[in-house]
Amino acid sequence: MDSLSALADGFAVALSTRNLLWGFAGVTLGTFVGVLPGIGPALTIALLLPATYTLDPIAAFIMFAGIYYGAMYGGSTTAILLNTPGESGSIMSAIEGHLMARAGRGGAALATAAIGSFVAGTLATAALTVCAPALVTAALRFGPPEYFALAVLAFLAVSSTVGGSAIRGFASLFFGLLLGLVGIDRLSGEARLTFGIPALLDGIDPVVFVVGLFAVGEVLHVATTRSSGEGHIVPVVGSLWMTREEWRRSWKPWLRGTLIGFPLGALPAGGAEIPTLISYSVEQRLTNRREEFGQGAIEGVAGPEAANNASAAGTLVPLLTLGLPTSATGAVLLAAFQQYGLQPGPLLFQHEPRLVWGLIASLYVGNAMLLLLNLPLVGLWVRLLSIPRRLLYAGILTLASLGAYSVNRSPFHVALTYAIGAAGFAMRRFSMPLAPAVIGLILGPLAEQQLRRSLAIGGSPMILFTRPISAVLLLFALGLIVATVFWPRFKTDSRS
């Protein structure tokens, strides 16, 4: 096979001592920034971009890929241990992961996340090697009506899957949708709900929203309820590592997560929100221990974490083959390509085989490095929990504020993050799930734009039902409504 020999050449490039060192620097830095709330791979790569100008492009991309993958690994750490996910991709794993950590199984949760990420990352990279061109052809069939249908399905899935009450789920979703309306409407140029504040013209940044809702909200919650033992985390119960039972329960979710994450990540709409959410809700429905969901079920960490990493590899498909960035990090990587005078697209594989295959090979290498780096770190991260709580949470809030500031370098965004944190605190008090709000904020604008594009292309709403893929997706959504309304038991009654 052509691509296999090309990949072998790629490994020769990636395994040179110099590139290995750049890769290692990348994964280490990536893990570090991934752990910090609000400081993600996109910002890090953007900041490093000018500094790498003099570097050989291959070395630079190997480092960037390391940062990207490393941040995926690191992002789950604080999400699981402290319930403070820094980006939308690790929100779903935070739900069960944090409950596991509270029960003293934080080490196992981190381990299943790391190994699941490795399995998913490696399999997805293999899929990227073999079937990128075929995937592109399939992905092109996804037009605006299909994306709209997918978003609708995600809205219904998240509101009925997460948390105990569908009403609270929908309330959280609509909170996100409302805030998602803020800013200039991309299709008409009209400013909506900006109240004359220029800083709101570009809408509410998802990073600001996630950091506020989770990190700030969590610190407020723990600090004000600490005397009742809230937020008290048992460091380790039993073995630090995964037990045989936990292995047995993890491997299937890893594979399912990969299967869900890679194709959804490869779609030109991208993002880790839909794949992680679908993986969570699939695991919840397939498990025979439904009662454990909401108490800390390892399937709920293994699946979404695998889906998160697989979708990260998936987003490289449209980026490399179509020149289409589908995530914030993808957009910065595109800028990096352009810095070197390269325009990703169908010809990149032919014109720059050394670069592309070196990059793909470095993804395999980076994944292996990350596993080696992260498994020993599990013990160290868990020890984070033995830091006195007053210093730990003070540190989190300080870092979260820094992250919020760095998004736009404006004090206004810091204040906005705090206001959202207050909302997150209130939502915790009224036991409203947080994940639907994030899905609403991120997918709301996407759903609106795709709906309006569909109408402009098709002329009438019928286009949503006449195209087979979107019709099937909408049918699923309808089924979900019917099931939730008529058989309330269908939904897991987790937290009451």
Partner: protein, 448 residues
């Protein structure tokens, strides 16, 4: 892409000589701020950072600071640049065609006419393309179909009001079709527009040439026309004028200075940028990035900018959806969200009442520790207000300390020390390690 650079360079040389002669030895600019009205990584940011490198490498300016003020296609940065306290410090704003359109499209309260034009640096022509399998043969064919039924032709391109949208509007006007009838479908950028065309979602796609080049070279997209005045080497498509459409449009990037600067400052800035544009380091950057040199300064640039503003403003006004019918699509989704929120709020209220009736004592909730809440809120307030005045370290120390004390009031003295060490460490780590610029405040000035 070729430009009449030789002629232009000679002209620049002449202007330079004359300015040099008139001002004798100009003192060099010591410190220059370049404002990129976009997030790191975007086109304007890349221009600013490439300039920073060229100016510093060539020794034209000792220190160049790049400041990112992203938002609303550059209009947030423009407003901040114009409204900054008047001073004669050297500061430049990266601007371009997109900003000219956005000022109109986003109803921006400020305008580029308030700034002091300095120079145009680069430009890129747009290309109009269809999928290879499309029945549309050439530009004439497209125009004929478009005239026959404007609604049947959908144009995919970048954000509404951006370069691609402006070009679609200009083409419609030149073809004698009301620009309001253009069925323009805005995507997030050229990549997405190309994908939509390849997938058969839109009839034609418009974008900068570089973004479509890989698809055109691999024969997936077919270029119908380019928005340049003359045929371009390496581009097979003819100019729009060959199809009887008298339109040219370049997505240019340029520089403006603050309002009401002194003539001396204006001259020094213009001269510095003119020198930079000829420098080896800048020319190498242009080549590497595939940017074409369209340097234009002085009165010529002023005239160009005025003309461009006039024509872009006119077409943007026509393209902006207005009236109850035009703006209707933008209202539907918000209405659904507002309606849904109301229904959910009522349901939530009823649910709350019902459970309160069932359990009159109320749901068992954990009581809030009010003192802790107050301390943290004070900490957050201090952080947000101290950040720019006092600097990062002081603000961070205050926040850290307040939170630590909120958890445990007995160790407040020791925690001050921890807070100072932690904040200083963060400051050094992020400013030195990642190059993130954090507000230094008095604290840093005191150290130096």
């Amino acid at each position: 892409m070729v430009d009449r650079t030789v002629v232009r360079r000679a002209l620049i040389g002449l202007t330079l000589l004359s300015t040099l002669a008139s001002a004798q030895r100009q003192e060099a600019i010591d410190r220059l701020t370049i404002v990129a009205p976009a997030a790191p990584g975007g086109g304007w940011d890349q221009t600013a950072r490439a300039m920073q490198r060229a100016l510093e490498d060539e020794g034209l300016v000792r220190t160049v600071d790049v400041e990112n003020v992203p938002g609303a296609a550059g209009t947030v940065g423009l407003a901040q640049f114009i409204n900054a306290a008047p001073s004669d410090q050297a500061a430049l704003l990266v601007t371009g065609l997109v900003m000219v359109g956005a000022v109109v499209f986003n109803d921006s309260p400020v305008s580029l006419s308030q700034t002091t034009p300095i120079a145009r640096l680069t430009g890129e022509y747009e290309v109009i393309a269809v999928p290879t399998a499309s029945p549309i043969r050439d530009m004439r064919d497209l125009i004929a179909r478009f005239r026959g039924g404007p609604a049947a032709v959908s144009w995919g391109g970048g954000s509404a009001g951006g370069t691609d949208h402006i070009l679609a509007g200009l083409i419609a006007t030149a073809a004698g079709v009301d620009p309001r009838l253009v069925n323009y479908i805005a995507f997030s950028g050229g990549g997405e527009a190309a994908t939509a065309a390849l997938g058969g979602q839109v009839t034609v796609a418009i974008s900068g040439y570089a973004e479509f080049a890989p698809h055109i070279q691999s024969a997936q997209l077919r270029a119908l026309a380019i928005s340049a005045p003359t045929p371009q080497t390496g581009v097979e498509a003819p100019p729009l004028s060959h199809a009887g459409i008298d339109v040219t449009l370049a997505n240019w990037r340029g520089l403006v200075a603050r309002p009401h600067i002194s003539d001396d400052m204006r001259r020094r800035l213009t001269e510095t940028i003119a020198r930079m544009s000829q420098s080896v380091s800048w020319q190498r950057t242009l080549e590497q990035r595939g940017w074409s040199d369209q340097f234009l300064a002085g009165a010529d640039f002023q005239r160009f900018l005025d003309d461009e503003r006039l024509r872009v403003t006119r077409i943007s006004r026509a393209l902006k959806p207005s009236g109850p019918l035009g703006a209707a699509p933008a209202r539907v989704f918000p209405a659904v969200v507002f309606g849904g929120s109301f229904v959910v709020a009522v349901a939530l209220l009823l649910d709350g009442l019902r459970s309160a009736r069932r359990n009159p004592i109320g749901r068992q909730t954990i009581p809030i520790h009010r003192g802790s809440l107050l301390l943290i809120v004070i900490g957050l307030g201090l952080y947000a207000s101290l950040l720019t005045i006092g600097g990062f370290v002081i603000a961070s120390t205050a926040l850290f300390w307040m939170v630590a004390v909120a958890f445990d009031r007995t160790r407040w003295l020791r925690d001050v020390a921890v807070a100072v060490v932690f904040s200083t460490l963060l400051y050094v780590l992020f400013t030195q390690g990642l190059g993130l610029s954090l507000p230094a405040g008095r604290f840093a000035a005191w150290i130096h």
